[in-house]
Every structure is written in structure tokens, then in C-alpha cells.
Symmetry: C2
Subunit: 117 residues, 2 copies
């Protein structure tokens, strides 16, 4: 166990987790600024993400860890990570391989709200 | 009551709210792509935002509606809104007046995670 990198104590103190122990993680393409998706992370998902440089989420629907791209090949390589002022959201800047969305769209935000009118 | 605009039924059906009835709302500066903040919206906050063209959140800490800029002057004028594939997150592209963060920083994501190491 002593070989497992842990998150810095200051970071652990700064995270403001919801009732399920999660923070929101916004994923943005580092060079174009396109917002690709929003996922959820518990401490362990964040630890894996920072340690491996590959983005791992906690899937709320499947209740399991989900390293982006393991099945689709659409990997997210982490370039930088920031925490917001109140500690309940992360901004991850990545190099996205292929499409971020499981539908094949490049970004998950492909449903203009105007179209619902 | 008949004068109050409501959200389209299809949009209401597409929202996947958390246990508190909220979805995450990512706010991005429309022209630079800078991610400014993440807030939370219930149906009424989204309705006000789309109707007024000014971004209104639900404050989880204060348990009240919070129209961005009413006290600070740092208004967010809505330019476009998109829903993600699974309906639990919105992407709002805005014209931000002044700083988005209450700390005076332009973006709330001003704490590089690397600095916690």
C-alpha cells in the first residue's frame, strides 16, 4: 500500500464533495477550448486521473470506475487540472482522442436547448 | 399564471435531475472559450435563465435562487445553451460582465491542482 500515491492533504481538504462523495469534472479540449463533457469523480477517480494522466470518472449510473477510452479507444490525456473557488468542481484540460461522446458526436453538449422549443 | 412562460415539455422530459432536483450548468465565455464557473439549476432557474437571457442559478449553500450579477454587477448574458447526451448537464455560453468569480478572479477555476502537490 505504501507504493500507492495519495492525493495531497491540502487538496483533500479543499474538495467539497456532494452527499455521494462526488465532485463535478468538466472536460475541455486544451487547445480549442471546446467543452467536451461533464463527469463525476470521487477521491479515488481523481487520484487515478492525476497519477496516470488518463481521465477516470465515477459512473453514477453503473456505480463503478470508468477510465475514459478503455472500451471506445476515445482516451482523454490530461494536460492540466484546476479546482474552483468553492471546491465542488474540477476543470480538466485534455487531449481528446476521437469523439468524447458515446453517440459519436465530438462533444456531449450537442443538443441545443433552442431545439426543444 | 398563464402569462408565465414554461419550459418545453420535451426539454423537461430530457432533464436528468439529481436527488435534489438539480442539473449542473457549466458557464463558458462565448468567444474566448474560457470556462468561467459551474453552478446548479432546477427547472425554475433554467426557465428564468432562458426567459430572461440572464443566468440564474439555484444556490445549494443558501437554498435560494441567485441571479448572477444582481449584487456584484457581474452579469452573465446568455448567448446559447446546450444539453448533454444524458441530460444531467447544461453548457451555457455567455457574455460575462466583469469577473465571474466572487474572489475577483475572472474564472472560478483559478486553483491549479498541481499547486496542491
Amino acid at each position: 500500500m505504501s507504493d500507492t500515491p495519495t492525493l495531497p492533504a491540502e487538496l483533500l481538504r479543499s474538495l467539497r464533495r456532494d452527499a455521494a462523495g462526488l465532485v463535478a469534472a468538466i472536460v475541455q479540449q486544451h487547445d480549442t477550448g471546446e467543452v467536451l463533457m461533464l463527469g463525476w469523480m470521487d477521491d479515488e477517480a481523481l487520484r487515478r486521473t492525476l497519477h496516470e494522466g488518463r481521465v477516470t470518472f465515477w459512473s453514477r449510473s453503473r456505480q463503478e470506475y470508468w477510465r475514459k477510452g478503455d472500451t471506445s479507444g476515445h482516451v482523454q490525456h490530461l494536460r492540466s487540472a484546476s479546482l474552483d473557488c468553492d471546491g465542488d468542481a474540477l476543470l480538466l484540460q485534455v487531449e481528446q482522442v476521437g469523439a468524447a461522446c458515446h453517440t459519436g458526436e465530438h462533444s456531449c453538449f450537442h443538443r441545443p436547448v433552442g431545439e426543444f422549443a
